[in-house]
């Protein structure tokens, strides 16, 4: 696991290099976007679920490298406020890189890495995950609007201080509107993490978010 975590900066460096020197395919352009998200985190260890909700802001980049290959990166952070009793507020930060291959205009396969942290007054918990999934892309109105529906397995998840989850899934749906060099998107995302049972209790976590993004093609 240490080796995997050590590889993460290299992945980010590779992504940044690709984005910097990428020559997008004809008709495709590099996009940067501002992101605002509403995030909800739920956790239970066999007792009443804890629930925190908050907003996060960040930036993203979409870099088409080839007609069939696209790199995406995202960096967001914010604060989550407790919505249930005996729950601490926490800060939330997330960094994600994804490579998507599109063998067909309506289908994409992607792999990605995710770094996430939750910080409160007492401690910081770090998450590292790798995800492998696919995405269905639905084009509306000559491609000006693109709907997406995706699902992914997270076969490799590491959480600091606790055992890794035994089941990790994610799914999402979204819409991206394009007009000239501008685009705007709305993306829903849901992650489920089921940890192995420890005695009678079992830890379950869920992160859901709705993110709005506004971006522009920069080259």
């Amino acid at each position: 696991m240490t080796a995997v975590r050590g590889a993460t900066p290299i992945c980010w460096l590779a992504l940044a290099t690709l984005a910097l020197f990428a020559r997008p395919a004809a008709g495709q352009r590099l996009h940067v976007e501002a992101i605002g998200a509403l995030v909800e985190h739920r956790v239970t260890t066999g007792q009443a679920p804890e629930r925190v909700v908050g907003t996060a802001v960040g930036v993203g980049i979409v870099a088409p490298l080839l007609s069939w290959l696209e790199m995406r990166g995202r960096l967001i952070g914010g604060g989550l406020a407790a919505q249930t009793p005996a729950t601490d507020d926490r800060r939330f930060g997330e960094m994600e890189a994804t490579a998507s291959v599109t063998p067909l205009p309506w289908l994409a396969f992607d792999v990605g890495t995710l770094l996430r942290s939750y910080t409160n007054a007492l401690a910081r918990q770090r998450w590292f995950a790798m995800r492998v999934g696919s995405e269905l892309r639905i084009s509306f109105g000559d491609g000006r609007v693109l709907g997406t529906l995706n699902g992914a397995l997270m076969p490799l998840v590491n959480v600091s201080g606790i055992e890794s989850p035994s089941i990790s899934l994610s799914s999402g749906a979204g819409l991206v509107y394009r007009h000239g060099t501008l685009h705007a998107g709305l993306v829903y995302r849901l992650e489920r993490h089921d940890f192995p049972p420890t005695g009678t209790a079992r830890r379950l976590e869920q992160v859901s978010s709705i993110a709005a993004a506004v971006g522009i093609a920069v080259r």
Binding site: T44, G141, A173, L186, Y188, L190, R192, E205, I210
Partner: protein
Amino acid sequence: MITLRTALLLLLLAARPLVAQGNTGEALDRAVRLFEDLQVERALALLRQVISPASPFEVTREQRARAFKYLGASMAIVGMRDSAIVYFRAALEREPFTDLDPALFTEPERSAFHEARLQLFAIGVRPLQRVRLDPAAERLAFAVVVTHQATLEAELRHIRTGTRIPLHQGSADGVRDLTWNGLAGDGRLAPPGSYEVVFSAASAHSGQSDSARLYFDLEHDRPALEDTLPSIRAEELLPERHPQSAAPLELVKGLGLAASALMLPSLVANGELDRGERKLVASVAAAAAVTGIVATIVRHNRREIDANIAENRRRVTEHEQANARIRARNEERLRATQLVITPAAGLPQ
């Protein structure tokens, strides 16, 4: 030995005309030198031998014309003007280009020659030589002569197609160069093939007419031309309108995406944490449904596929530009075409 003798005899027989022409030429040269030395009587005797039917030597048409010319001049010198005219006429009949150089011939000689030209009407044209012609810069010259003032018409005729190309129509007197730029009447290069050039003249004095003909083969010498691209076929173009079924399909897509999004929490979320709450996903589902409805209305009202229309225009433009480039290259090659003109003996069989 007999075989050797036979071969030698054959060689001698074969060599005879050359020797004969050489003898005639030498005799003529000697006669001209005597004439120039004013030994007119001796010159006359030699010239009469040359033109005599009893002459053992072969005499070409040109040699005969030259002999008649000097006979005429000699007669003029000895004061026999009428005979001089007769001989000059004989010279002109055989070679209409016959002329007297004022630096070499006296006034009485030239006067008799002039009279002969007035009495006789004939047209002559010099044979062509094989020539390569750049029609942009060069002209093909036909040297024509009429013995006295006349109207002259000349035209080329493509023997296979019969197409006529006017060359000249006007008056002429003496030698004249008629030039041709290699173009047909429509301004394009004359097509390859065999041509006949007909020169017709009518005397302004006597009304007599005469004609002369030349034949030549014309070839175009240039790199091969490229074929233009065939027209774009319908199947090579993208459809420019959506089918009627496209509008309802947009609605199906929008509602399908909305329904799928709403199902995600139920499918993925753990029931112990989430009891099917859909507050967050509802916004995406609503947006998908609205998008589907709007896309349906838009598609119903406007079925043109802008991207395909633009792509088809690009393809057509590219195709036209490619053909324009080919045509330009062909034009360049056509402009560089050279005409190869080869004299021909007469009408091809």
